[in-house]
Amino acid sequence: MSEPFDQGVQVLRQQIDAGISAYFSSCVHCGLCAEACLFYTETDNPRYTPIHKLEPMKKLWRREHTFWGKLGALLGLSEPLTEADFSEWETLVYDSCTLCGRCSMVCPVGNDITDMIRKQREGFSAAGYAPEGMKEATRRALEIGSPMGVTYATLKAALAHVEKDTGLNVPVDRQGADYMTLFSSMEVVNFPEYIAAITRIFHAAGVSWTISSEAFEATNSGIQIGNKDAAAELVNRVVTAAEKLGVKSVISPECGHAYMAIRWEGPNLIDRAYPFEVVHILELLDQLKAEGRLRLASKENTPMTLHDPCQIVRRGGVIQPPRELLNSVAEHFIEMKDHGVMNWCCGGGGGVSANERAEPLRLQAFNRKKQQLDESGVDTMVTACANCRIILEEGIEHNEMDTAVISLTELIADHLLEGGKEN
């Protein structure tokens, strides 16, 4: 037995709290969660049943928290958690779960299966059983500051472009601003339009904002891989920077899991409440619109549908703002069949997008989204998550579909009424 393995078991053991105990005690193996999981519905492979992905943790729980398990351990009858369990379950835990939270919504006894998998990942990563891609991303995040290796230099270059394009000043490290804005590396690298969009919107709405040169990365690979220490370190950077700049609020970017990480997990990771509040960009936009500071002009005539990013909507609670915003710029907003908190995941959340070996399975799982899109009959899909965007575009390309994916923030910026005249 190797040392990381023992450590993994130890970490896993620490994860078992009242919630996990209640969840395992309640699960009656009814299998309904399978129907909620796109990895099961698209493959029909029973191994992808959400609760089955938790067998290793359940094994530990049974052995150490139940009568029969303890008795079996005492008599040497029950098999302990082995390294083989970790290696066998690694793909189930990382490749076939996007932590989308859909299973947690349907479980009849109310188990938060997603939370369980999130916790199980702690043990797996401590034991060293995590996909290379995610390990690398976490390493880069800790060492370089971003899972994709984006440094402030990269951002600075992108900001320079934005300033040139918009003719507006992007405030960096401005003390005492109201809002400190975070980005996901994906936005910096793939969608700098997003930066331009918020620059214009904030300018038009007169928002006092800034970017920290020390902490601009919002994503948190530590959470995805399940490494509490790494996750806490990444959160700490943001908190320190925000406190240093003395901002009132931190804006989470569109990126879904960044919001979940900084808004909901962050304070618990660093063990203290924030002295500032965290808002999602869509929440802020919705608020600006309500206050009349965000004025929009004209509406799109193309029918549009909304892909709800799991971590923003189902696991984040930002449900109405995207709808309000989209309705204000789209004439024909058509909801997909399963939408809002029951929307289907793009297939790339929870670190799956950073996991190369998961790609074939991920593309298979995309069939669910394809089917949803086909049913809605809409060719323009609006979303609010850079990661979803990338995954959706990949899926669309793979299936040779004719669907455009656009960012909601960028769409809003396109319809901004700037200085009284339409842009």
């Binding site: 029973p46 939370d115 908190v341």
Partner: protein, 213 residues
């Protein structure tokens, strides 16, 4: 001889095991503790918990479209069992005599039997689903089967003793119920109590986030 044992000491023993076991299990779960959530809540945790406890009695739409029969069977079984456990005249009499001394109005005999039919159909279908559907087949362990078999035995012996005229049949029913009570706290059957906790924990988490779970 055996009858007296089943009626007396074994009953007391099984009821004690059941009560202590259930309390112990619930206490063990509660004592494991849960760290307080430090994130500023968007909604009320309490309201979310309360909502989840009740809202999960109704299925999500996605589940209803894909697995109707197990869902219907689940309702048949649970509602039927609940009704006949607490509203059948013999059970009310038994509870009044042996446990609480309280009694309440019973449902008519025919309703008792209809409830039993529902419960039987539900349990048989659920168990068949368990062994026939690839997912549940993969998930199920010995505990699930023992639990199902014990509940089935209690129901079957109860149904066989329906005439309420043969003492041995009543004793077999009582014995199987006692076995079930003894097994209960050590098994998955605990979900009858812990589901409230599971739903509350999840509901509270989601409630804080402002999501109706």
């Amino acid at each position: 001889m055996i009858g007296q044992f089943i009626d007396g000491p074994l009953w007391t023993f099984s009821l004690t095991v059941f009560l202590i076991g259930v309390v112990w299990r619930i206490a063990a779960i509660l004592m494991a503790g849960k760290r307080p959530d430090l994130a500023t809540p968007k909604g009320s945790a309490g309201a979310g918990a309360l909502r989840a406890v009740f809202s999960r009695f109704l299925p999500e739409r996605t589940v209803t479209t894909q697995g109707r029969l197990p869902l219907i069977a689940g309702y048949l079984f649970h509602l039927g069992l609940f009704a006949l456990l607490f509203f059948a005249q013999p059970h009310i009499d038994f509870i009044a005599e042996k446990i609480t001394g309280l009694s309440w109005p019973a449902m008519p005999h025919w309703a008792f039997i209809v409830a039993a039919e529902f419960a039987f159909a539900g349990l048989i279908l659920l168990w068949l689903h368990r062994i026939l559907h690839p997912v549940t087949r993969l998930l199920s362990d010995l505990d699930d089967h023992i639990g199902a078999v014990l509940v089935f035995l209690v129901m079957l012996t109860g149904c066989l003793a329906l005439a309420q005229a043969f003492e041995p049949l009543r004793l077999i029913h009582l014995l199987s119920a006692e076995l079930l009570l003894i097994y209960f706290p050590f098994s998955k059957l605990m979900h009858a109590f812990t589901f409230v906790m599971s739903r509350s924990y999840t509901g509270a988490t989601m409630g804080r986030k402002g999501v109706n779970a």
